[in-house]
């Protein structure tokens, strides 16, 4: 745009935006809460603004306000949203409909859920274009195919014929980006577009999105909780917390010279110094040559997997989704009896099936899950949840049990006041802590942690990792730590097993696994972890030796 006045370069101008919602707490009268407090921002044509913050920061809510959309009863109660020179909040429903899908398009976090399973991809990609009458069907489809090519999707000519379930997650995310670009909007709202993807897939999608933004000169609001990701694509970054602006500046300034303490905490979140422990002489738990499959399937999810776990140490199992890391946990716990191979515990073989294991063996192996809120009975109090293993394994009752529950709550740095709370009254981090306390209550030798920090905000996850390390020192418990996040692995592991398509491709002490020379897959995995460095993305793409499996 070669306009004379610089002012007309402004595409989006949000002024003093206030967003409220009505909540209905159980047993209390409904009340209004404010989600966004007088946030203002401006976005120039063709620029990318990253909105960053933890969950509940209001970043998605602000992003969707650019389309006049409030998710689940959320209301815009104050301020102005000026898009292309007019306040869209004054346009009414009809006005919103005209701008959605035409001036502003949306790319959701999970494309797998955001595509309608009943329609072919092409019909969905061109739907908005046809609806707003900006092109004929033939022209729109041609444009879509060109976009598929630009986003380096395989078979761009025919991928539109497919249904969503026939395409992988990473590809769907790119098709969704093509869908947003197809109606040639002025602004795209990207709402965590790579969060649900594996790291190795994320990097491809990120690069595709970045190229597409550059080539089409579309402006974007890029919403994410991952600063390293947003640093790759944004011109400017806005840090939000609890619906309020914390800091807003150029990308370099935010990641290199943050002015606010909170931003600083976000930037430096992942660094836990963890001294690697040397493996002892004898492992207490040995997984030997395990092969496993689900049902009577011929597809082996685990192929000849062997790992050892030493007392009081952490074995991290890393890999992408589908690599078999959770299945390994299921085989160790007996939930999925392996077809071949054995699990040895304290020098004797464990029964393959969960039902055949004595109570004592069950006690020794405990588990913590990714989704803490669905791993607890919502109708039981924290005291009951933590007290249950005490009753079940040790027969503790009454005051003895309560005393031990209080002790455990203390260990997870939560006060006695939580005993009578229900899971719904806890934050995500607190829920995970309760789950940790529940597993500790059994005094196990091994806790299997399955993606325990993946659903948490970085700062909260950091706290959980520190707690786990602290508890390991105190209780001498070992962890089998399953994760896709390499930064977490560096902070917590003593030894590492890298899994790829059901096999352990690299295994050894942490220092050894993370020291070159790498095999091709470990190299891909390591080089795909976003770094908080401008220009990292281009460097990483250039340096790759193999393509990721998700594509």
């Amino acid at each position: 745009m070669a306009d004379k006045q610089p002012k007309s370069d402004i595409l989006l101008d949000i002024r003093n935006l206030r967003i409220e919602a009505t909540v209905y707490p159980p047993g209390e009268p409904p009340k209004n809460i404010t989600l966004v407090h007088d946030v203002s921002l401006t976005l120039e044509k063709g620029k990318v603004l990253g909105l960053i913050g933890e969950s509940g920061a209001g970043k998605s809510t602000i992003g969707l306000s650019a389309m006049g959309y409030g998710r689940g009863g959320v209301r815009i109660t104050g301020g102005e949203v000026i898009l292309n020179g007019r306040d869209i909040l004054k346009g009414g429903k009809e006005g919103f409909r005209k701008l959605r899908g035409r001036e502003v398009c949306y790319v959701a976090q999970s494309a797998a859920a955001a595509f309608n399973p009943a329609h072919r991809l092409m019909d969905q990609v061109v739907e908005a274009t046809l609806l707003h009458g900006t092109a004929t069907r033939a022209a729109a489809e041609k444009r879509a195919v060109a976009l598929f090519k630009k986003l380096s999707l395989p078979n761009p000519e025919s991928i539109g014929e497919r249904f969503p379930h026939q395409v992988s997650g990473g590809q769907l995310q790119r098709v969704m980006t093509a869908m947003a670009l197809c109606s040639e909007p002025d602004l795209i709202v990207f709402d965590e577009p790579t969060t649900a993807l594996d790291v190795t897939t994320q990097i491809d999608v990120l690069a595709a999105i970045k190229d597409a933004i550059r080539d089409t000169h579309v402006a974007a609001l890029y919403i994410t909780h991952d600063l390293a990701v947003v640093a790759q694509v944004s011109d400017e970054i806005m840090v939000l917390r609890h619906g309020r602006l914390v800091e807003w500046g150029g990308t370099r300034q935010i990641i290199k010279e943050p002015r606010q303490e909170y931003t600083n905490a976000l930037v430096s979140v992942h660094e836990i110094e963890h001294q690697e422990q040397k493996p002892g002489t004898t492992p207490f738990l040995s997984v030997k040559n395990i092969t496993a499959a689900y049902g009577r399937s011929h597809i082996k999810v685990l192929k000849n997997v062997s790992v050892d776990i030493y007392p009081g140490q952490t074995l991290a199992v890393v890999g992408e989704s589908g690599s078999g890391k959770s299945t390994l946990a299921r085989a160790v716990t007996g939930l999925l009896p392996p077809e071949e191979g054995t699990v040895t515990f304290d020098g004797r073989p464990l029964a393959n099936r969960l039902a055949d294991r004595p109570k004592e063996d069950l006690r020794q192996l405990q588990m913590i899950y990714q989704m803490a809120d669905v791993a607890m009975n919502p109708r039981q109090t924290v005291g009951t949840i933590i007290g249950r293993p005490l009753e079940f394994y040790f027969g503790l009752r009454g005051r003895q049990r309560d005393a031990r529950v209080a002790e455990l709550l203390d260990k997870i740095e939560m006060g006695k006041g939580f005993i009578d709370r229900y899971p719904a009254e806890l934050s995500g981090g607190q829920k995970q802590r309760v789950c940790i306390a529940r597993s500790l209550a059994a005094k196990p030798k091994l806790i299997i942690c399955d993606e325990v920090t993946s659903a948490l905000d970085p700062l909260v996850a950091h706290g959980i990792l520190e707690l786990l390390l602290e508890l390991q020192k105190e209780e001498n418990v070992a962890y089998l730590f399953i994760t896709h996040d390499l930064a977490t692995v560096k902070s917590i592991a003593d030894s590492i097993a890298v899994m790829y398509r059901g096999e352990v491709v690299r295994y050894g002490a942490k220092s050894q696994v993370l020291t070159p020379p790498f095999d091709a897959y470990t190299d891909l995995l390591l080089s795909s972890v976003p770094e908080m460095e401008i220009g990292w993305l281009e460097k990483a793409i250039k340096g790759r030796r193999m393509a990721s499996a998700g594509n």
Binding site: Y69, R100, G101, C105, Y106, A113, F115, F163
Partner: protein
């Protein structure tokens, strides 16, 4: 069509046949348990022990039950439903015309009720929790809650007695002109429509509302589609399986559950026929009608299952 669908459909059909066989056993056994037998029923008051024994011998009633079952089943499979004891007529011939009448009535009731229920369901979702939704739900619920004979008589009172628009007795005969026939079935069809409407409507509403929570509905809204287009194009296709299920259940009801309505309007259908012969304790007729009703029920449910399988794009287009 791809192989998983063929396999699933074949499975459903095989299961259906098996189920029908099981039902035939039950029907046969049920009529055996009832006190008295056909011979007693035929001879009635004039029965003497000798004549009873003779007739039993003649009808083969002394054979073991399973032989009689297979004899009956063999007849059914070859289209011979036996003879009615009360009239001595061939059951298959007298049922044919009546089955046709029942299907005719059910068809027109369904032709009105199904689209109406789905459209009302869509409208209820569009204006969910508003007064339109509540009005639709309330009226539909009311019409279901009234017993069908009550609805039937109310219709007769207004449309046949007071305003005399439609006949109160739905006589139909062979060779009746289509227009007259339609006029004759107007009131029973209306009564049936009112009875089945609410169930289908509420299920449509619930099934679509369930889908309205999905992320892809939000995607559609964010493309700028109107509320109704979102429901019709994006929510409805994904809610179709449960809707088909409840529609089929109601279609089955229209055929096998019309007894009361047929009696009220003296409509010469299967229900009327069944009631007549139950009062006469005409076991072969009751068996035949029971089996036909079971077959209708089972096949409509198989159709619902198959439709739900075909409606699933994951099965229709495997990876």
């Amino acid at each position: 069509m791809s192989s998983p669908i063929v396999k699933l459909v074949a499975q459903r059909i095989a299961l259906g046949i098996l189920l029908l066989l099981a039902v035939s056993v039950l029907i046969f056994a049920g009529t055996q348990i009832l006190p008295g037998d056909v011979a007693q029923a035929i001879l009635g008051q004039s029965a003497t022990p000798e004549s009873l024994a003779n007739l039993r011998e003649q009808l083969g009633l002394n054979d073991p039950a399973f032989i009689r079952y297979f004899r009956w089943l063999g007849g059914v499979v070859t289209g011979d439903l036996g003879t009615a004891m009360s009239s001595g007529q061939d059951i298959a011939t007298s049922i044919k015309g009546r089955l046709w009448n029942t299907l005719f009535l059910a068809f027109w009731a369904a032709a009105v009720a199904v689209p109406l229920a789905i459209i009302l369901g869509l409208i209820a979702v569009r204006y969910r929790n508003g007064w339109v939704d509540k009005l639709i739900s309330g009226l539909a619920l009311a019409s279901t809650s009234f017993p069908e004979f009550f609805i039937g008589y109310v219709l007769v009172y207004f449309f046949a007695v007071k305003y005399q628009i439609f006949p109160g007795i739905s006589t139909v005969y062979d060779g009746m002109p289509f227009g007259e026939r339609m006029q004759a079935i107007m009131l029973p069809a209306a009564a049936l429509t009112l009875v089945v409407l609410a169930h289908m409507m509420r299920m449509t509403r619930a099934a679509i509302l369930n889908v309205m929570q999905s992320a892809y509905v939000e995607t559609a809204e964010l493309k700028g589609l109107s509320a109704f287009a979102v429901i019709r194009r994006h929510a409805f296709p994904n809610a179709i399986a449960p809707i088909i299920n409840v529609v089929m259940l109601n279609l089955a009801y229209l055929i096998v559950g019309v007894v009361v309505v047929e009696v009220i309007f003296v409509y010469p259908g299967m229900g009327q026929y069944l009631v007549d012969h139950v009062t006469k304790r005409d076991v072969p007729v009751v068996q035949a009608v029971g089996l036909i009703f079971a077959a209708v029920y089972i096949s409509l449910n198989i159709i619902a299952d198959i439709a739900a399988i075909i409606a699933n794009p994951r099965l229709r287009h495997p990876k």
